[in-house]
Symmetry: C2
Subunit: 216 residues, 2 copies
C-alpha cells in the first residue's frame, strides 16, 4: 500500500472517498435482496452512510444509477463469456459449452447484475452505451456460433445468428425459470446440466455435436 492520502481509488479523500462506488454496491445489494423494484436512491444513500441528497452529485437520477449498474453488468458479462469461449480452445464445441456454463454461472453468481440487465425496464435507447454493451455480450455468442458453424463443410452450414439466438433464449429461459434456488420449481437435474443437455441436443441436430448420432 503506497497511498498516503492521494492517488489510488480506495475509500478516502473528500468526505466519503468513493461514494459513487459505494452507491453502486449498495444498490446491487438492494437488488439482490429485494429485486429490482426494491432499489431506491434513498435507501442506497442510507447504506452508504450518506445523506439522501448526496447521490445526486454522482447520478442524474435513479434510473441513471440503474443504467450504470446494467452497463457494468454487461461489461462483466461480456468478459465472462469471452473468457469461457477462450478463442474457441481447446475445440469449438467444448468452448461453446463453456460459454453456456458461463452464462448460467453469471446469472447465478451475480443475480443483482443480471436482474439490472434483464429484469429492468430501462429504455436502452436512452443510454446508447448500454445498448452497445449489450450488443457486445451477444456478439461473443454470435462469433462463437460462427466459429462452430465453420467446422462444417460449406453448403451444410446453418445460420450462425440463429444458433446464437436459440442458445441465448435457452440460457435465459433456464436462468429465469430455474436459475435461483426458487424452491418453487423442482428439477430432476441442476440448471447447468439442463442447459448443457439442451445445447448439446440442439447442436447435434445441426451436425455440430456427436452424441447419439453414430453414423458419419
Amino acid at each position: 500500500m503506497s497511498w498516503t492520502g492521494r492517488g489510488g481509488n480506495e475509500r478516502r479523500g473528500y468526505h466519503h472517498g468513493n461514494l459513487r462506488e459505494a452507491l453502486i454496491e449498495a444498490a446491487l445489494a438492494l437488488i439482490a435482496e429485494l429485486g429490482p423494484s426494491g432499489f431506491t436512491v434513498a435507501e442506497a444513500a442510507r447504506r452508504a452512510g450518506v445523506s439522501p441528497a448526496a447521490p445526486y452529485r454522482h447520478f442524474r437520477d435513479a434510473e441513471a444509477l440503474l443504467a450504470e449498474i446494467a452497463l457494468r453488468g454487461f461489461e462483466r458479462f461480456t468478459a465472462s463469456l469471452a473468457q469461457a469461449w477462450n478463442g474457441g480452445k481447446p475445440d469449438p464445441l467444448g468452448a461453446f459449452e463453456n460459454v453456456g456454463r458461463a452464462y448460467l454461472a453469471f446469472a447465478r453468481d451475480e443475480p443483482a447484475f443480471y436482474a439490472a440487465m434483464f429484469e429492468t425496464r430501462i429504455a436502452f435507447d436512452s443510454y446508447p452505451p448500454l445498448q452497445a454493451a449489450a450488443d457486445q455480450a451477444f456478439a461473443i455468442l454470435r462469433d462463437a456460433a460462427e466459429r462452430l458453424v465453420a467446422t462444417l463443410p460449406t453448403g451444410k452450414r446453418p445460420p450462425a445468428l440463429m444458433i446464437a439466438l436459440h442458445v441465448w433464449a435457452l440460457a435465459h429461459g433456464v436462468a429465469a425459470l430455474f436459475g435461483r434456488g426458487d424452491a418453487g420449481r423442482k428439477l430432476p437435474m441442476s440448471p447447468e446440466e439442463l442447459l448443457e443437455a439442451g445445447i448439446l441436443l440442439y447442436l447435434q441436430s445441426l451436425g455440430l455435436a456427436g452424441g447419439a448420432r453414430k453414423e458419419n
Copy 2:
C-alpha cells in the same frame, strides 16, 4: 338476456356491480402499460371509479389482487396450451409445435397476465392455488412431451420431463427476450419462427422430428 335485476354477473347491483372484476381489469391495464411495478391499488381503484378503500372489500391487500391475476393467468394459459395440444391431433409432432406457438401467442397477446405470472415476485408458497395452477400449465407440456416420446420404440425414449423443461425454457426465453416489439433487439425472423425452428431442431436430434435427417 333473462336477468332483470337479480342473477347474472354483469355490472349492476349494489353500488358498482362488479367491482372485483373491474379492479382486475384495471390492474391488468396498468401492468400492460407500466409493467408489474406500475400497478397500485390506489390507481386501480381510481380507474374503476371507486374510492381507494373500496378494493379492500374484495382483496386482503395489494399482493392478493396480484396473486388473483396470476392465478387467472395460469388458468387461461393452461386452457390455451391444452387447446393447442388438442389431444395430440392430428399428430403428436404437429400438435406439439402448436403448443409452442400457443405459448408465444399467450405471452404476446396477454402481456399483462404473462408479466403477473412470471415477472412478479409473488411468493407462490403463500398462495397454494397459484402453485397448483402453475403446475397444471406445465403438466400440459409434460403430458404432450410424454405422448411425443411414446411414438418412439421403447428403449430409445428420452426423458419426457427433460424435453418439457427444455421447451418451456426455450419458449420463455424467446418470449422474454424477443416477445414484445421491444425494438431494442432486431431479429432476422419473428419470435414464432425462431421458437418453431428451435423446437424442431431440438426434437430432430431426439429422433422426434424429420427435418434434415433423411435416413430411416
